[in-house]
Assembly symmetry: C3
Homo-oligomer: 321 residues x 3
C-alpha cells in the first residue's frame, strides 16, 4: 500500500480515521487497538460491555454482499457503543441501475451518518468512498472483494495473542482457498506488521495465491508439511461465489483428504497449536467436526473477539474526529 | 411430552429457562405468567408499558419462515423490555447450503445473544437449539412446524380468561385446518393444563387432525353441532404452505358454507360466546367480515395480549438465569 | 381536496393529526412547521438533534414500494425523536394474497403503534388508512402513487425558503416526468398555498401532466423558455416503474439534450437560481454531473432538510393527540 492510502486512513496525529487495510498501520497503534478491544470482553452470561462513545451518532451498515455474521457483529458493536444503527442491504445489481454509489453515500451523509460500514465485492470501493466523504465521517471496511477484511485480521490477531501471548516468532499455517480470500490477506498483513512470523500457505488447485501479495511467506504443496510444528492453523472458507471456473478445484472429499483439517493433520502441529476458521464453516470439507469442536479450536472465541474489535475500531474512529 | 423436555424448559427451582411447548408446564406457573402479562397491558393511546428487565441484553429473532405479525410482536416486546434486538430473516433453503444451524446459533451466542426467538418449519428445531446453547441462554419457540406455538397458546388463554374469568369448565370449539395448525395444538395444551374443559374440534377434509395429539377432545363432523352452546369459538387460518395435496380440500365458497364462522353459525353458540382467530384472516372463507368485526370478536385483543404475553415470557426467561 | 380530507388531517383546534397532502393546510401552520424543522438542523459533524417527544412511542414504517432514502430518512427521524421503530417492507403483491391491508393496520395498532409511515403505489391508500385508525394514531404519507408526497413538498419549500427568504413571488420551473410525479404535485400544492408564485412546467412526451391538477401553472413546450429567468429549477426523476408504455418517451440522450439540466440551460435562469432534484438522480439524463455537484445545486441540502422536516412532522403529530 502506498503512503497515499495510509495518509487517508490515519490522521496526522496518528488517529484512525478510516479502517481500509491493516497494511501500513503503526505497530504500537495496532497493539493499543487490541488492548482496547480486550476491555470490551465479558464472561458469557454477564452483561455485554456498554460504551457511550457513539451516543447520538449514526452508523450505517451498507452491505452490498449478503452477510449474516459480519453484519450482526457490526450491528451489535454499534448498538453496544450506543449508536443509532441503520441497516441497508443493497443488492449490487440494483446499484448499477439506480443512482451512483457516491450519490447514495452523499445522501446518507446528508442525514448525518457518522460511520459507514461497507462490504462490497468490488476492489477499492471502501477507499473510493473514504476519499469522497466529509472530514468527520469514517469508513470501515467490512470485507472488500478478495483484497482486505481488516477487522477480521484484527480479531484473528487478538485471538492468537490471547493464546500465544505474542505476535512474533510464530509459525502460522493458512490453508485453503487463499487465492480468493480477503481473510488470508488481512491476517498476513497483521502478522507481517506485528513481528517476525513464519507464514506458511497451502492452497488447492484453482485456489492458488498470487505470492506477490504475500512477500516473505512460503507456499507449500503438501498440507501435512505446511502444518508440521505450526503454532497456529487457519482453515479458510471456500469462496465459491468468487470462483469463476470451478472445474479445476478438488471435490469435497478430495479437499478434505488433501487440505482439510482433521485430527491426524492437526496432530502434526505443535502440541499447543490453536485451530482457527473465519466461518461460516463447511464441516466435512474444510474441517472435521471433531477438530472444529475440539479442545484446540478457538473458533467461537474468534467471533467474540470480533465484536470487541469492532467496538474498539468504532471508538477509535470517533476519537479521530 | 416426556419429562425430558420439561426438565429442559423449566429449571429445578421452577423457573422458565426456555419456552418450547405448553405441555407439562405447571398450572400455577402458567397462571402467574398470565397475571404478569396483564401488568403490561395499557389503554390504547397511552404510553406502552416499559420494563428494564432486559436492559443491555440482546434478543435475536431468527425467523426461518416468513412472518410479519409474530416477528413484529416479539420485536416490540423485546424493545419495550429494553433489550437490543437483532432481526435475522433467514431463508431455510440457504441454511441447507451454508453453515449448520448450530454453527449459526453458536456464532450468535458468541456475540452474547441472550435470547433466541425461533420460528421454523421443522419439527423439533427449537428443542434442538435449546439443547445446544449455554446454560444462561434462552430459546423461545415462535412457531414450530404444525407442532407448537406456545406464546400463541398463552395469548389465547389470557384472552379467554379476560372474558370468562376462568380457564375451567368451558366449551371451546376449534374449527378449521386443525391438521396443519400449531395454534390448535398449543391452545389445546394450555386448556388441557388449566382445567377440565370440553374441547371440540371440527375440520374440513384434507385438514383432519391426528386425534392422538388431542386426548380427551371430541372430533365433530358438523360445524353447527360443534358450535352449539360453545363459550369460545376459534377459527383457524388455512395453512396452505403446509398442505401437500390441495386437491381434497373444499373450495373457498364451500369452506365458508360448511366451516366458516358467519353470523348464523355464531348465533348457535352461547349468547356470550367470544370469537377468536390467530390471524392473518382469510375473510370470506374462514370468517365473515361482520363476525370478525362484530361485538363478539376479540381478535384484536388477542394481538394486544400477544405482545404482553411475550414481554412476560422474556421477563421470566431472564429471571431463570 | 375536499374539506372532508382536511377535517381528517387537521384537528378542530388546528393540530396536524395525519399528513396526507399539503392541499388545504393552513399557511401559517406550514410556516410554523418549517420553522420547527429548522430547529432540528445541525452543522455537519456535530451531534444530530435529539428530541424526546416520541420517547416510548412506536413508529411503524410500512413501505409497500421499495425505498432506501425515504425509509432511511423516516427511520432516523423517528429514532432521533426517541421513538421505537418497526420496519416492515411489504411486497404489494403479497398484500393481495394475504390478509387485508386494514387487518394488517389494525393488528399493528393493537400492538400500540402510534404512527404509521406509509408508502404505497395505490392512490388513496394513506387516506384510507387514516380513516380506519383509532383517534390517537397518526398516518404520515411517505409517497402515494403519482399523487402526493407531502414531506417531500415540505423539504423542498424549506430549501427554497432558506435560499430565497420567501415563498412568494418566485418563478419555479419543474422539468421532467411531471405526469408520473408525486414530487411535482406536492411542491405545487405547497407553493400554491404559501404565496403567489409563477409555476412553470415542462415535460417530455409520455410524461405530460394532467393540467387540471396544476391550476394556475403554465405548461411549456420548450425547456429553455421555461427555465429563462427562473429562481428555482427542479429536475425530476423519470418514474420508469409507473410508465406503462415506454415507447413514446425520449431516449436518454434525447432527454438530456431537450430536458436535462446542463450548465447552458441553467445559465438561462436567474443568476442566483438554485437547482433541486428529489433523488435518486439519473446523472447524464435528468441532470449533468457538473450541475448536480455545482455551486447552484442544493440537492444534498434537500436531504438534510428532509430529515428535519420529518422530525417536525412527527413532533406535530404527537402534539395533536
Amino acid at each position: 500500500m502506498g503512503n497515499d492510502k495510509q495518509t487517508l486512513q490515519v490522521t496526522a496525529d496518528g488517529k484512525l480515521k478510516h479502517l481500509l487495510t491493516l497494511e501500513g498501520l503503526d505497530k504500537s497503534f495496532v497493539s493499543g487497538l487490541l488492548d482496547h478491544a480486550t476491555t470490551y470482553l465479558r464472561h458469557a452470561g454477564t452483561l455485554p460491555a456498554r460504551d457511550f462513545g457513539l451516543q447520538g451518532r449514526t452508523v450505517a451498515n451498507l452491505f452490498f454482499e449478503p452477510s449474516t455474521r459480519t453484519r450482526a457483529s457490526f450491528e451489535l458493536a454499534a448498538k453496544r457503543m450506543s449508536a443509532d444503527v441503520l441497516n441497508l442491504d443493497v443488492n449490487s445489481s440494483s446499484r448499477a441501475k439506480g443512482e451512483s454509489l457516491l450519490d447514495t453515500i452523499h445522501t446518507l451523509q446528508a442525514m448525518q451518518v457518522d460511520v459507514f460500514v461497507v462490504r462490497d465485492a468490488g476492489d477499492g470501493i471502501p477507499e473510493f468512498i473514504a476519499r469522497s466523504v466529509q472530514p468527520h465521517v469514517s469508513v470501515l471496511n467490512a470485507g472488500e472483494a478478495a483484497v482486505s477484511h481488516p477487522t477480521q485480521g484484527l480479531l484473528d490477531m487478538l485471538t492468537i495473542r490471547q493464546h500465544k501471548n505474542r505476535l512474533d516468532g510464530l509459525k502460522v499455517t493458512i490453508i485453503g482457498d487463499i487465492g480468493h480470500s480477503r481473510v488470508a490477506s488481512s491476517l498476513y498483513h497483521g502478522l507481517h506488521l506485528m513481528g517476525d512470523n513464519e507464514i506458511r500457505l497451502v492452497a488447492p488447485p484453482g485456489m492458488q495465491p498470487d505470492m506477490g501479495r504475500f512477500p516473505g511467506a512460503t507456499l507449500y504443496e503438501d498440507a501435512d508439511e505446511a502444518v508440521s510444528g505450526a503454532d497456529v492453523l487457519v482453515a479458510l472458507r471456500i469462496q465459491r461465489e468468487r470462483i469463476d471456473d470451478p472445474s479445476g478445484i478438488p471435490s469435497e472429499d478430495e479437499y478434505m483428504v488433501r487440505y482439510g483439517l482433521n485430527a491426524e493433520r492437526v496432530a502434526l502441529a505443535a502440541d499447543d497449536a490453536i485451530v482457527m476458521h473465519p466461518g461460516p464453516m463447511n464441516r466435512g470439507t474444510e474441517i472435521t467436526g471433531d477438530v472444529a469442536d475440539g479442545p484446540q479450536s478457538v473458533i467461537t472465541q474468534q467471533v467474540t473477539n470480533g465484536l470487541a474489535v469492532r467496538m474498539a475500531v468504532l471508538s477509535a474512529a470517533m476519537e479521530s474526529r
